[in-house]
Amino acid sequence: MSTAVDSRRGAAATTAEARTAGLLGRLGWAVADGWVMAGRNMRHVVRSPEEIVLYFTLPIMFVLVFGYVFGSGMAVPGNGNYREFLLPGVFVMTMLYGLGATASAVAVDASRGVVDRFRSMPMARSALLTGRAGADLARAVLELATLVVCGLLVGWRWRNGLGDALTAMSLVLLLRLALTWVGILFGLLVPNPDTVAVIVFPLAFPLTALSNVFVAPDLLPRWLGAVAAWNPLSATVAAARELFGNPGIGGESWAAQHPLVLAVGWPVLLIVLVAPLAVRRYQRLSR
């Protein structure tokens, strides 16, 4: 078996390389391994096309239900177009609900034997999780594209030029990345993959209700209004409305006055806090 001998030499060479390359090399491998794992997750989707349908149904449903069913009964501050007001909120809401898919995918992975193989291999410990985050970000790009097309069809427009519009979409995706890490941690904490979907909805729903997605926080009771104003979702929604040139809510609080700062700050803070926790939790699985 000359090939086996060759590959043994190869293994010895790669381990030697990995040791000499040091920290920078480790980081490089961590990125490379994460990239390979993201490819694995995307291949899963390609092999089960029925899942792709799900990618598109939720965004389309959100636009139709909230734009036409609820929209008919709502007035927008400053007499703006309700659907223009609504769409940035629907963008963010779709990102939030993506957290459920992330969490169940991670929980299913963690419950399978294949995780033992990943953990017994000389690969970056973070790769399973960064690969999940990467694949789910790709999914979010598809969902956002669907939302934009639907939005344009129902009369939503961006009014401050393409540059600002792309910045707004980047902020929405940044929030999704942060929520993905929350979903990953969540998926690692639940003992049973079947319970994930059941738990995520009751947690996610109040988050959208207590934000500026549908109503102005200033109209809520004082303490609830403060929660809604500082809600990370509100920050991204307000920033997106501003950048798209869509009608906004405004407000007196510091949070409402500085949506751009918070739309960057909140997601970055979440990632910095949650991602290391998730990697740590993964390393301690079944230990």
Binding site: A12, T14, G113, R119, M121
Partner: protein
Amino acid sequence: MTYETSAVVAEGLRKSYGGTPALGGFDLTVPTGTVCGLLGPNGAGKTTAVRILATLLRFDAGHARVAGHDVTRHPDRVRALVGLTGQYAAVDEILSGRQNLILFGRLRHLPARVARRRADELLDQFGLADVADRSAGAYSGGMRRRLDLAASLITTPRVLFLDEPTTGLDPRSRNGLWEAVRSLVADGTTVLLTTQYLEEADQLADRISVVDSGRVVAEGTSAELKARIGEDRIELVVRHGAQLPAAAGIVERVTGGPVTSDAEIRQLSAPVVDRIGALADVMRALQDHDIAVEDVVLRRPTLDEAFLRLTGQRSAGPREEVAV
């Protein structure tokens, strides 16, 4: 990097799960280039030991070195040199067999082209080329286990852990897997194998360590252990009770062992060394003397009896799982 004389060294490993001890002072040494069988019933601690040595599980006390590296201090170095094929096939069930092998090759940092070529070689070698593009989830148990083993061999491991590799396999798949393991050993890989079957340990292992209640309770070559466990026996029932003494004489002459007979149930019993040979010889000799036989069995000591003889006490493992 130096080759050590012992590929696996475990000293006084202790591990308990929430107060329930799984390992209580587990010692094991496996010389480089040999096959060691860990034999014991379910719950004896075999899997716990293997998971610790494969860096999957932390332990409470003791030391473990694998392929020359401490598993606690340098788990990454150990991981680069070992392969693990577990009781439950650790493959991605959605991906195809080929995609699985390419994925694991890429994660072992083979360049994409090399990973693809290696995947094709392994698919051929393990007879999976025909189903290479089908989802691993649709594979039969035997195919999945072969894929799992192939995944451990993408780069030839210095030490291979096989945790009950043939449990639940039909005899043909089992023989195929044994063949693969033998050719790997011929290439110099050290193998640590856990099994509930003495026959499997006998087929593959140079030395066998018998595990019970989280400790190695007996150790030796297969022949040494068998001598301590006691021989297999042939048991037969003759049709006519009047022929029993004559039959006993013939059986004693053929097997060479002391024959015990029970006139009430017309049964003879004698120890045998060469199982099938003895069976054929005994049956031929009885036929030559026109002695009719109603029933014949070759009986091995059960693992339970083996434990009793090796350790002087019954196994603490669950009764119904043991078999030899």
